[in-house]
Subunit: 276 residues, 2 copies
């Protein structure tokens, strides 16, 4: 038996579209309804058979068992109140935003059966055309229960992510935002800053190193502006600490401190080699 | 007819070994002699048929037509005087160091027929076992002639790199070091600094973004310590400019300046999209 009867996905882009495909492929629900903003996406989502029903009308969510908000972070916060007026009382709700504290604080006031999710999957690409049922395979999904989250919601959402291939880790919303500020938000900020800095006419003189390091600067500016603003407190902390590391390197170079420089690089390389 | 009769390669690691294989594959020389530091590498280079002759004795370079110094940057400077006492007067000499100003300054005093090279190829991997005849295919090699470089040396070294698949760009040693401080050295420094900063217990909560951004932090600390020290003046400049960009981002986040933040990210993304 399917875990859910009807699932509604709000926002059918890279993640929302991939979720829709995965839900169908792994038979997690009988029916998937996609709510999108643009007329064009309604057509495209149906043409590519990504969802069973596509519409711009939120009211189609009135009898679904699970709603997944898969829009950019700022839209999740904006759209949640309208969704809360439509869904059934026992409907389970989650979102896939890359920041959690702000979203969870707002959404758990609106929904009884809410839990935040953050699948660590996806890429720099955006949009429906990159949707793929298997992007969650072998990935990690962080879910962020609080004291208010009903145990049954934790259980069902865990099973949901497992069924489409993701391992699940439970972390509080604040710790999630702290950790991700280091492992994802800061690296994105750094990649954008590197690209902003490097003179365009120098770019021909680069190799795979620069390309890999700045691949994530291809990510959507809208999406990442939202993430940076939403998690700005934690990011400001990790950014300042990163500035201190750069200052250390600056001192080591100015002072020609070959030995300490080597130890700094060696420590970083050793840590990186643990990251497969 | 082969471009050279005998070629000597000092340092048979990733780049030196790949050069040896490419020279044989594309018949650029009749014979390749590899000079290495360790006994083990002599055996390994011969067993893997990477060179025709492998030895720890520099005197084997006495009758070669081209010497390529393919050791780390600091070793290039250390070993050059000994090489200059051995080679024929008309022997052409180049090196593949990632920094050029310091090396060119020293080496063109020692050799009449010297020109600096910097193939923008390779990877984070080091050593003979990663050698591959085709890493130069479709890559760019910067060569750095000065007023002292004989035109015939420029011509022959250009043909040499072309024959093994690389396009060649002529740039002065100082401009090379300035450009590469932005497109290669700073990104490496940043990747090492990111890894040094991120707490080890956070690393499990990361995705491909962090992995790509910090892949180059897997690079050899010895090699990169040398490069950073050799080009420290230019790197200190680009590092300070990068610090200013981060400071700009810090201000935009603190002030919640959503619009300017978006424009910053958009500019970076647009520039990155030109980098294929």
């Amino acid at each position: 038996m399917a875990l859910f009867k009807k699932v509604g996905i709000v926002g059918v882009g890279l993640i929302g579209g991939s979720l829709a495909l995965a839900i169908k492929k792994y038979k997690v629900a009988q029916e998937v309804i996609g709510i999108v903003r643009r007329k064009k996406t309604v057509k495209e989502a149906l043409r590519q058979k990504i969802v069973d029903i596509a519409s711009r009308d939120l009211r189609l969510l009135k009898d679904v068992d699970l709603v997944i908000l898969a829009t950019p972070v700022s839209t999740i916060k904006e759209i949640a109140p309208s969704v809360s007026k439509i869904v059934k009382k026992d409907c389970i709700l989650t979102d896939v935003g890359s920041t959690k504290k702000e979203i969870v604080l707002k959404l758990e006031k609106l929904f009884h059966n809410y839990i935040g999710s953050h699948p660590l999957a996806g890429s720099q690409n955006a949009g429906l055309n990159f949707a793929d049922a298997d992007i969650f395979k072998s990935s990690l999904c962080i879910i962020t229960p609080t004291r208010k989250t009903p145990p049954e919601v934790i259980r069902k959402i865990t099973v949901f992510w497992n069924k489409i291939g993701a391992k699940v880790s439970l972390i509080s919303p604040s710790l999630h935002d702290k950790i991700l500020s280091y492992t994802s938000h800061l690296p994105h900020l750094v990649a954008f800053a590197l690209m902003e800095l490097i003179p365009s006419n120098y770019l021909n003189y680069s190799a795979t190193g620069l390309r890999d390091t700045t691949r994530i600067a291809l990510s959507s500016p809208e999406l990442w502006r939202d993430i940076f603003i939403s998690n700005r407190k934690e990011i400001l902390t990790s950014l300042r600490e990163f500035g201190n590391k750069l200052y250390t390197l600056e001192k080591l170079l100015s002072q020609r401190d070959v030995k300490s420089l080597y130890l700094f690089l060696k420590k970083a390389q050793r840590k990186r080699s643990k990251l497969l």
